[in-house]
């Protein structure tokens, strides 16, 4: 695959600077808007964290996971269990979710990450379905009827927003520093050519498991904050198809294997989805689908790719042709 205008292992630095600026702006949302708008933006941040998680395994390491929702759900249930034991500290929720998701990723990753290509994708899909089914049948966790969680009152409700903002920021900065470290280069080497990576001394299975564990910690943290913010969790909410597919689509649209891409993708996609739902109550999924198809056709390497493109429309048309070839 040719790289045109994707600056280095973290992606275009300009795009990253813009994304950091937007993150700072997003801090102001609860000050001016409460209720619905705040929830919309909190969901954007939630999807961003999940997209960053997927980006590490799918974008950087090149292993397309269809099972990251398992981490999100596990994270949510970590909060649910802690809340049932009277713990209400959000940091505790996130900490437990990260530990549980990392351990789960290592245990499951050991057999699953030996698979390559489509087989890995299908196996991860199976993992997600299995985890959802197991939780739905555990009465301790409320089974399929779920768990209610005590929510903060209205005056303190924005705490969830800020917590989710921190989780998204942590995922973004974590991705940035990991990508620039030795770890990031191991991930990309595995993506580009696993055999060649092994010859250079990279123990592929080990690094894939590390990538998946960090990936899971990001998604799990998002789930851990989602649960109390939502006030109620059950298997169908926490293991929703949307929560599985959106982060993947967002990452690819924004630019997979870049630091700015997942955030840009989440902002645009979750934002567009929200607007379309408002204006086209019934047909919004149709427009949403059409939009995704168009972006994939016209921006084959994601939106971040546009930042590095020099030479206007002509360069863009030429580049699209290069990628299609």
């Amino acid at each position: 695959m040719k790289r045109i205008g994707l600056g280095g292992i973290t992606g275009n630095p300009g795009a990253f600077a813009i994304v950091l600026g937007l993150m700072v702006l997003l801090l102001a949302v609860p000050l001016t808007h409460n209720g619905y708008v705040e929830t919309v933006f909190r969901n954007i941040l939630m999807y961003a964290a999940m997209a960053y998680g997927w980006n590490l395994i799918g974008g950087y390491t090149g292993y397309v996971s269809f099972g990251n929702v398992a981490f999100f759900g596990l994270g949510a249930y970590c909060s649910g269990v802690l809340a049932a034991h009277g713990v209400s500290n959000l940091f505790a929720y996130v900490a437990l979710a990260m530990v549980v998701c990392a351990v789960f990723a290592v245990i499951v990753g050991f057999p699953v990450l030996r698979l390559k290509g489509h087989y890995f994708g299908i196996a991860t899909l199976g993992v997600a379905l299995a985890v959802a089914d197991i939780i739905a049948n555990l009465d301790v966790l409320g089974g399929s009827s779920g768990l209610a969680m005590h929510q903060l009152d209205e005056a303190h409700f924005s705490t969830y927003y800020y917590a989710m903002w921190l989780v998204a920021l942590g995922s973004m900065l974590g991705t940035y520093f990991i990508a620039r470290s030795k770890l990031g280069y191991a991930f990309v080497a595995i993506r580009e050519n696993e055999d060649a990576a092994a010859v250079l001394g990279i123990a592929a299975t080990r690094y894939k498991i590390i990538a998946w564990a960090i990936s899971g910690m990001m998604a799990g943290s998002a789930g851990a904050i989602f649960a109390p913010a939502n006030g109620f969790i059950d298997p169908s909410i926490t293991f929703a198809v949307d929560s599985n597919v959106f982060p993947i689509v967002m990452t690819i649209l924004g630019g997979s294997g870049t630091v700015a891409g997942p955030f840009i993708g989440s902002l645009l996609l979750a934002g567009a989805n929200e607007l379309l739902q408002r204006f086209f109550v019934k047909a919004h999924t149709l427009f949403f689908g059409a939009m995704i198809v168009l972006i994939v056709l016209l921006l084959p390497r994601g939106l971040v790719w546009l930042f590095g493109l020099r030479g206007g429309v002509r360069a863009w048309i030429k580049s699209v042709q290069v990628y299609r070839a």
């Binding site: 580009e192 010859v199 250079l200 001394g201």
Partner: protein, 276 residues
């Protein structure tokens, strides 16, 4: 064998056989590689050179026999740890990380190779830059590896392998596609690497290059070792000529030589007749 001789052996290849389905790509290949030497591995297409390189570098586990390095069986070592033993290789079909820059490609080797654990990310990049200067790729260090021409990709392969700080370097056709000047440069580079104490095993089709650099030449034909020795001796051997040019060619040469000899004889015999 005395202890001194024993310690001078870097790689020991013992009775190696490699079967793919019904085909033995290698059988009963045995030879030692002396530390500090340059072994030229030659043979016609399909004679098993690359297969042997793959066995030595641990990519393939041999069906029979074994390759040992410093007393360790390569087959028992995971592929990603072979370079930590001190064995590095290049690929005949080059395998750059296409989306990474040329320097990043080499830096990955410096990060995860034998000395990698001791190097910071920054030190790895510095090491990569040094090596790019050594192989003559400093001018394209920032370019994506996918932009490189084939000869430059071969250079990149060598730089990546050197980044692993190897004791033994396996080079699989790194000179293919280079012009005469470039071959000379490449040979100079390899001699230099060898002078620094790195043992080389070189697969190459260019006989001139092999003869000029090798201390020992091993010839494979149809998966078997048919000759081993000093370059000039090996290349003069009847068996090697047969392997390369075919037994019919050799037979025809013999026939031609006979005819020539008969003519000569006839010439020598004729003059008296003419005089009579």
């Amino acid at each position: 064998m005395s202890a001194a001789v024993e310690s001078s052996v870097a790689l020991r290849i013992t009775d190696v056989g490699m079967r793919f389905g019904g085909l033995w790509a290698l059988s009963e290949v045995t030879f030692d590689v002396v530390r500090g030497s340059v072994v030229g591995l030659i043979g016609p297409n399909g004679s098993g050179k690359t297969t042997l390189m793959n066995v030595i570098s641990g990519v393939y586990k041999p069906t029979t026999g074994e390759v040992t390095y410093a007393g360790k069986r390569i087959a028992d070592v995971p592929t990603h740890d072979v370079c930590h033993l001190g064995i590095a290789r290049t690929f005949q079909i080059v395998k750059p990380f296409a989306s990474l820059s040329v320097r990043e490609n080499v830096a990955v080797g410096a990060m995860y190779g034998r000395e990698g654990a001791k190097r910071s990310t920054r030190a790895s990049f510095e090491r990569a830059q040094e090596l790019l200067e050594v192989v003559g790729l400093a001018r394209v260090a920032e370019r994506p590896a996918s932009d490189l021409t084939i000869p430059d990709r071969k250079r990149l392969e060598v730089a990546k392998a050197l980044a692993l700080d190897p004791d033994v370097l396996l080079l699989d056709e790194v000179m293919a596609g280079l012009n005469a000047t470039e071959v000379e440069e490449a040979l100079e580079l390899l001699r230099d690497v060898n002078k620094r104490g790195v043992t080389l095993i070189v697969v190459e089709h260019l006989m001139k290059a092999i003869v000029s650099i090798s201390t020992t030449v091993v010839v494979l034909a149809e998966g078997r070792k048919i000759a081993q020795g000093a370059p000039s001796d090996v290349l003069a051997s009847q068996q090697v000529i047969e392997a390369y040019l075919g037994s019919r060619w050799v037979k025809r040469q013999e026939q031609l030589a006979e005819i020539e000899a008969e003519r000569e004889q006839a010439k020598r015999v004729q003059p008296p007749q003419a005089g009579a």
